[in-house]
Symmetry: C2
Subunit: 199 residues, 2 copies
């Protein structure tokens, strides 16, 4: 018995991650009551982003240009390449670390059962980049999941083919974490790969 356009908007809002029926209702009412201007801006930004944002030809990250800003930058170390699964992973590394090299965004991970193989991850393009001799180290920053590990293994082998040194993010107890609450796998790994205390 509500307005059909309003129902339609609520339904459409549910495409957002983590937004169910209740949140979508709240968002729709909020936008109509107090945020019409912001809503119009959002509508335009959404349409423009979806229409114009594609993938960088070099690193496969999101970009509205053929080559993204990081790949096009001259101040980035050309000898370092960091492979990540998603643009979101690239963003957190960029924000949290002082990394000044470049990236390669796989846009996924190897998962043969889902039909995601080397081609889908653009590994032919990665091979071309590794082949030209500019890259000296491939930092593999895939997620520590089964598929992420398999992907990392594959990437490491690929790097070695082209005499590129592969490296992985260190695993272990998170900073500020309490041992009591660290999961068993992580703790076992951290224990096994303990490091000698320097003098």
């Amino acid at each position: 018995m509500s307005s059909p356009l309003l129902d339609h908007l609520i339904e459409a809002l549910r495409c957002l991650p983590g937004v169910g029926q209740k949140s979508a209702q709240r968002m729709a009412y909020h936008l109509l009551e107090r945020g019409r201007e912001g809503g119009l801006k959002l509508s335009a930004a959404l349409a423009e982003a979806i229409e114009r944002i594609g993938h960088c030809e070099l690193c496969r990250d999101f970009s509205e240009e053929k080559i993204c800003a990081i790949c096009a930058s001259n101040s980035r170390e050309r000898s370092l390449l960091c492979a990540v699964e998603s643009p979101a992973d690239r963003l957190v590394i960029e924000q949290a670390t002082g990394y000044r090299g470049r990236y390669f965004v796989l846009q996924g991970r190897l998962s043969p059962l889902d039909g995601i193989g080397p081609r889908e991850l653009g590994l032919d393009r990665l091979a071309t980049r590794l082949a030209d001799g500019e890259v000296k180290e491939l930092i593999i920053a895939t997620n520590p999941t089964v598929e992420g590990e398999a992907t990392a293994h594959y990437l490491a082998q690929l790097a070695r083919q082209f005499d590129v040194h592969p490296s992985r993010l260190a695993h272990g107890v998170p900073l500020g974490g309490e041992l009591e609450y660290v999961d068993r796998g992580t703790l076992a790994h951290a224990f096994g790969s303990r490091i000698e205390v320097e003098r």
Copy 2:
């Protein structure tokens, strides 16, 4: 160093209630990675809703028609009118109760300090409706806040002017709630307005 259009989208998503920087990022990446179709639909639904949804001339609820579906319906009791603060309140009453009367949506509550008086709540229009003699009972369903109570008091007086019987939602201990966790004000009210147990 990210894509400007992507930054713009993330910023625009923050107009949604309860969405901060992190959630906005997650939403933007999700839409670009896996939800482009849904995103385009959302953009269109948003623009259309904001452009075309106005207020019903009778009840002030959201509606793309001059008169909303509930006000236009012939199967609704004409002698009952329920005053609520917002369209969201109307929706929950519609969903939770078997109410078959009509509504009046104040789109706010009396708040003189914020410049919200009877005129802003459309009480002149409410008075016209009460004056024509069709409405016999005005169910006042404002929120149990200070301003909501003040609004309720004002509405009750208005109703009496036109010989309309005002009523309010019952206050008390929520069903399924435990006394231990009910706030003091509610408990005191429920205690004071205790009801004799029927035989």
